[in-house]
C-alpha cells in the first residue's frame, strides 16, 4: 500500500490536516478530500487554468502541484473570494456584464483576475488579455470577461 503523507495546509484562512497519497494533486485534495469543489478540473495538464488557485501569494494551476507540496503553505481558492454574502467586485461585475456562460472557467478566471489587479490596478486591455491567456473559456469569446475585469479595475481604483 502506498505510503500516505500527512499534510497541514491553510486554505482560505482555515487550517486543514489531510492524509494524501504522493501522486495526488492539490486540485484532487481540494475537491475530493476537502470538498471545496469551486476549483474546477478542465484539462489536468496545466493548459486551461480552470483549477487556478493562489499558493503563498503565487497564482498556480492546482493540477500542476502535488498536495504534499502544499504542506505548510497558504492556499486561496474561489471559496474565499466573497465575504459571506458580500461578493468581490470582480464577482459582481462578472454577473453584471455577463462575464460567464457555463461557468466552468469562471472560478479560475476570477482568481487569476484578482491576482492581476493586486499587482496592476490599472491594466490595459492587452495586459488583461495576456495575463488571462492561461485561462481558457469556450463560451464567451472572452470580450465580456475582459470588459468585466476592466470595469472592476476602474471601480476599485475609484473606491
Amino acid at each position: 500500500m502506498t505510503k500516505k503523507y500527512h499534510v497541514t495546509t491553510t486554505v482560505n484562512g482555515d487550517e486543514y490536516e489531510v492524509l494524501c497519497e504522493p501522486q495526488q494533486s492539490l486540485l484532487d485534495v481540494l475537491r475530493d478530500t476537502l470538498t471545496l469543489t469551486g476549483t474546477k478540473e478542465g484539462c489536468a495538464t496545466g493548459d486551461c487554468g480552470a483549477c487556478s488557485v493562489v499558493v503563498d501569494g503565487r497564482l498556480v494551476c492546482s493540477c500542476l502541484m502535488l498536495a504534499v507540496e502544499a504542506d505548510g503553505k497558504k492556499v486561496e481558492t474561489i471559496e474565499g473570494m466573497a465575504k459571506d454574502e458580500d461578493l468581490h467586485p470582480l464577482q459582481k461585475n462578472f454577473l453584471e456584464f455577463n462575464g460567464l456562460q457555463c461557468g466552468i472557467c469562471t472560478p479560475g478566471i476570477l482568481i487569476a483576475a484578482r491576482e492581476l489587479l493586486k499587482r496592476n490596478p490599472d491594466p490595459t486591455e492587452t495586459e488583461v488579455r495576456y495575463w488571462l491567456a492561461g485561462n481558457l473559456c469556450r463560451c464567451t469569446g472572452y470580450d465580456k470577461i475582459i470588459r468585466s475585469v476592466l470595469v472592476t479595475a476602474k471601480e476599485m481604483r475609484g473606491s
Binding site: 504522493p22 501522486q23 487569476a112
Partner: protein, 289 residues
C-alpha cells in the same frame, strides 16, 4: 503502478544521496509542470520523487563575480519579477516569459525546462546564447558545464544517476552587450515554438560586433549552438549584409522534423527570418546598454 515515494530533503547532499541510492526510476521535482503531467498521463512511473525546493541553493538569485547565479528551481515568475536580473539578461527573460501561462510560470523553472529536454524549450536557446553554465551536483561531487552539453536528445540529458542541476551561472558581460530570444508560433501565447532563436552579442565602441553566440531551438533533436551564424555577425556592424549571412548560416544548420507545427522546409526558412529579427533586437539592446 509501483508505489511512489516523495522526499523533500533540505540539503544538496541529502538529495544526491536519495537519487543515487534509489533502485528504480527517480525524478527530481522542481516546478513539476512537466513531471506531474507525465505522471498523470502515465508516460512515466517513478518510484521516487525528490522535491528539491527546500534546498536553499536551488531557490536563490544572487549576484556573483559580476554575473548572476540563479537556482535551478527559481520559478519563472520569480525571475520575471527580479528587476536587476531582467536588466542584465533581457533575452533570457524573453525565453522565460514564453514558458506557458502566468500560472505555469508560477511553478515552472529553468532547471526543469532544460532537463525536460524538449528541443522546443523556450528558455534553453536563450541560456545557450547567454553562455550560461549549469552547476551539477552528484555522487562524485560538483561540476560546472556549458548548458548546451546537458540535452542529448528529446527527453534525454547527459546527467548521470544521482546528478541534478543546482544552479545556473550567467557570466559578467562587457559593456554594449545585448541578448534576445524570439520564437515563431501561430498564436502569441500558450503555444510551442515552431522555431526559436537566442542571440547574444557584444559591440565595441564603434558599433562593430566583437562577440556573438547564436542558438536555435525546435529545429534539431537538441538546441543547437551555431558557430557559423555567430561568425556571420562578428566583425560586422550587424548591417543588412551581415543579417543575410546570419540567416543563411542559421537556416543551413537546421535539421528539423516535419510535424503538425511545421514542415522541414518551413522551419528552415523561418529560422533565417527569426534569426535576423532576434539579432536586431539584441543589437538595439546592446546599443542601449
Amino acid at each position: 503502478m509501483a508505489d511512489l515515494r516523495y522526499e523533500a530533503p533540505e540539503t544538496l547532499n541529502a538529495a544526491v544521496a536519495l537519487l543515487a541510492g534509489a533502485s528504480g526510476m527517480t525524478r527530481v521535482l522542481a516546478g513539476g509542470t512537466d513531471v506531474i503531467v507525465q505522471m498523470e498521463t502515465d508516460l512515466i512511473e517513478p518510484e521516487l520523487l525528490v522535491d528539491i525546493k527546500k534546498i536553499p541553493e536551488v531557490r536563490q538569485i544572487a549576484a556573483e563575480n559580476g554575473g548572476w547565479r540563479v537556482g535551478a528551481a527559481v520559478t519563472g515568475m520569480e525571475l520575471v519579477e527580479h528587476a536587476a536580473f531582467c536588466k542584465a539578461w533581457p533575452g533570457v527573460i524573453d525565453g522565460v516569459k514564453l514558458i506557458g501561462s502566468i500560472q505555469v510560470k508560477g511553478r515552472a523553472t529553468m532547471g526543469g525546462n532544460l532537463c525536460n529536454a524538449s528541443p522546443a524549450a523556450d528558455s534553453v536557446p536563450a541560456l545557450v546564447a547567454a553562455g550560461a553554465t549549469a552547476r551539477i551536483v552528484g555522487p562524485k561531487g560538483t561540476r560546472d558545464v556549458a548548458v548546451e552539453t546537458i540535452p542529448t536528445g528529446p527527453g534525454k540529458t547527459s546527467l548521470a544517476k544521482g546528478e541534478f542541476i543546482a544552479s545556473f551561472f550567467f557570466p559578467k558581460r562587457p559593456a554594449h552587450s545585448g541578448d534576445a530570444y524570439l520564437r515563431f508560433t501561430p498564436r502569441t501565447e500558450m503555444d510551442i515554438a515552431v522555431v526559436g532563436v537566442g542571440i547574444n552579442l557584444t559591440l565595441d565602441g564603434s558599433g562593430t560586433c566583437t562577440a556573438a553566440r547564436v542558438a536555435l531551438g525546435a529545429v534539431a533533436p537538441t538546441v543547437l549552438l551555431v558557430n557559423d551564424a555567430a561568425k556571420a555577425l562578428i566583425g560586422t556592424k550587424v548591417d543588412a549584409a551581415a543579417l543575410d549571412k546570419l540567416a543563411t548560416a542559421a537556416s543551413a544548420a537546421c535539421r528539423p522534423i516535419d510535424d503538425k507545427r511545421g514542415t522541414k522546409e518551413y522551419r528552415i526558412k523561418v529560422t533565417g527570418v527569426i534569426a535576423k529579427r532576434a539579432a536586431q533586437i539584441a543589437l538595439e539592446r546592446a546599443r542601449k546598454s
